[in-house]
């Protein structure tokens, strides 16, 4: 892989220039949180953030979107697709892995044209990170990333080591070659190695994933699910903030004239009671425990069985955002070991 070096002081000019020709998305600080948002001149880019509240998915699968409008007898009109190149800066490795998981869902088989258009017009610039006590990407094998980005920046203090992951990424580097240096010397390599080993020492949270899908299958009937569910508010905050939760519902809204309207989709969660309810009142997951189980099964077993990787990328958002303090790593660990252990922090 081609690597170059960007001196730290050149980052802002680099992004500033990109912003002139593209819609640039960056991590921004708001209050005590960091969110991904469009860059505006002079805005504070959070370079050392831990995790954003909503993951990058909101820019590819928006929380709500109109699929098409219709008028009786006249067929369907899709909303004008957004055009122009977008550069999404600052994704951590887990979030890049998460996008790759979403690609499986939305680009394989039937192609989700809305997702594809947004994905195709977006360049990804990754950014290295340091874990906090909720990150467990090292357990999920998503702590490092070798593809799925156009550029990847590793923060080595004075400089960023920049991995080039695509021709588009290469073009960006070439266009701004005055800001980067092609020389990756011994000292930088050494710093990179130090960074990697320091970083891996910082992980606190872990999840033993060996045989996890099998264990989950065997623990299907465990009373533990209902026990954890007693504490679950089923608020859906974990699903919304998970970078790989992609469930959505589709609904129509007719206009006052009764002859035109629109069809939209919006995020939903398998934790909601109506999620598996069908006409006639039959609910395939009638209890909160069954719904909570579905969420974890899908992440760690079902998706794994479909794609060979877990849907969970270990970003820690679900635990960080759960008002009840439920820690899914602990739930899964308890399930693996002593199931009477309390899983709620």
């Amino acid at each position: 892989m081609k690597t170059v070096v960007l001196p730290r002081e050149n980052l802002e000019p680099f992004l500033g220039r990109i912003a002139r020709g593209h819609d640039l998305i960056v991590p921004k600080k708001t209050g005590n949180d960091v969110v991904f948002d469009y860059y505006q001149e002079g805005c504070q880019i959070a370079l050392e953030y831990r995790r954003t509240l909503l993951p990058p998915k909101k820019f590819f699968l928006p929380p709500e979107e109109v699929l098409f409008r219709y008028k009786k007898g006249q067929g369907f009109t899709e909303p004008e697709p957004e055009v122009g190149r977008r550069v999404f800066f600052g994704l951590h490795p887990c979030d890049i892995h998460a996008l790759k998981r979403l690609d499986y869902v939305f680009l394989e088989g039937y192609v989700d044209t809305y997702y594809r258009r947004r994905r195709e017009r977006t360049l990804i610039i990754g950014l290295s990170c340091l874990p906090d006590d909720k990150c467990f990407c090292h357990s999920m094998g998503t702590d490092l990333v070798s593809d799925g980005f156009d550029l990847f920046f590793t923060d080595l203090g004075e400089v960023y080591l920049v991995e080039v992951g695509s021709t588009s990424g290469n073009d960006l580097v070439l266009t701004h070659r005055d800001l980067v240096s092609e020389v990756v010397d011994e000292a930088i390599l050494k710093e990179y190695k130090t960074f990697i080993s320091t970083r891996s020492d910082l992980f606190v949270q872990t999840l033993d994933t060996s045989g996890l899908s099998k264990i989950l299958t065997l623990e299907w009937e465990s009373p533990f699910w209902e026990k954890v569910a007693q504490d679950c508010l089923a608020c859906g905050r974990c699903s919304m903030s998970c970078p790989t939760c992609y469930c959505f519902s589709i609904y129509d809204q007719v206009n006052l004239d009764s002859i035109s309207g629109e069809r939209s989709r919006s995020w939903t969660s398998c934790l909601y009671k109506d999620y598996a309810l069908v006409a006639g009142g039959h609910n395939f997951r009638p209890s909160r425990g069954a719904r909570l189980r579905q969420r974890l099964m899908h992440k760690h077993k079902d998706f794994f069985e479909q794609q060979g990787v877990s849907a969970c990328v270990g970003c820690g958002r679900c635990q960080a955002n759960c008002p009840a303090g439920i820690d899914f790593c602990q739930v899964l660990t308890s399930l693996r070991g002593d199931i009477s252990e309390s899983a709620v922090g």
Binding site: T30, L233, A234, C235, G236, R237, L256
Partner: protein
């Protein structure tokens, strides 16, 4: 398709839900011309009444005259829609020991909760009804909209936020203003009062206070369930 015959009625309430309709300044005249308005005492003195396709009823039942009106409206209407938390759950009239939700007396075909109801939902419900459909139900609690707006969670920060127990649809107005949700839209599809009480007890709140707060708008529903804990 002939215009649906519509009546708008208020029982005991603050008239907020009827006012929300009058507050649809941009759409009001379109709405009124898309329906055959047969009763709206708050807005017009010409109320021919008679058979209705859809009746909207605001307010709780607190007195015999409310009940009489409600029963009369029910017998005349194909569909009866409860609008506002007072009508749907009893709301504040319930707390004063006086009001009950209208569903305790007559069949309610659809409930549009909110204190007051949301303009957007009212208009979308009206459009659906004119089209011949019952409006969609929103299955999610306030937390969904709150999370989508990327608000910091107030419950996590130790405030009594009723978001996880409360029917969504308001766009998480309060948490988006940095104010905890009071539950003004009444219970969500699947409120877990026990879990919420447990969390708040951990944050050091008095369990009785929590119950009272969680039950502010949900009348019959939460006051019972919430009390099973603690």
């Amino acid at each position: 398709m002939s215009k649906p015959r519509i009546g708008i009625y208020g029982l005991t309430s603050c008239a907020g839900d009827q006012l929300v309709l009058l507050n649809c300044e941009d759409e009001l005249l379109d709405v009124l011309s898309a329906v055959d308005l047969r009763s709206f005492v708050m807005a017009t003195s010409q109320n021919p009444e008679g058979e209705l396709d859809v009746a909207f009823v605001e307010g709780a039942v607190t007195q015999d005259s409310d009940l009489e009106l409600l029963r009369d409206v029910r017998t005349r209407s194909k569909l009866l829609i409860a609008i506002g938390t007072c009508a749907v759950w009893g709301g504040i009239p319930y707390l004063s020991g006086r009001g009950v939700p209208i569903s305790q007396h007559v069949k309610v075909d659809y409930s549009l909760p909110g204190c007051p109801i949301e303009k957007k939902q009212l208009l979308s419900a009206l459009s659906s009804l004119i089209h011949g459909d019952l409006p969609l139900k929103l299955p999610y609690p306030v937390c969904l909209e709150c999370t989508i707006r990327e608000n910091s969670c107030l419950l996590q920060a130790g405030e009594i936020c009723c978001g996880p127990l409360t029917a969504g649809g308001c766009g998480a107005r309060c948490p988006s203003h940095n104010r905890p949700c009071l539950g003004c839209r009444g219970p969500s599809l699947d409120p877990n009062y026990q879990a919420a009480t447990k969390i708040l007890a951990k944050h050091g709140y008095d369990v009785e206070d929590v119950h009272r707060k969680l039950a502010l708008f949900s009348g019959t529903n939460s006051s019972k369930e919430g009390r099973q804990v603690g």
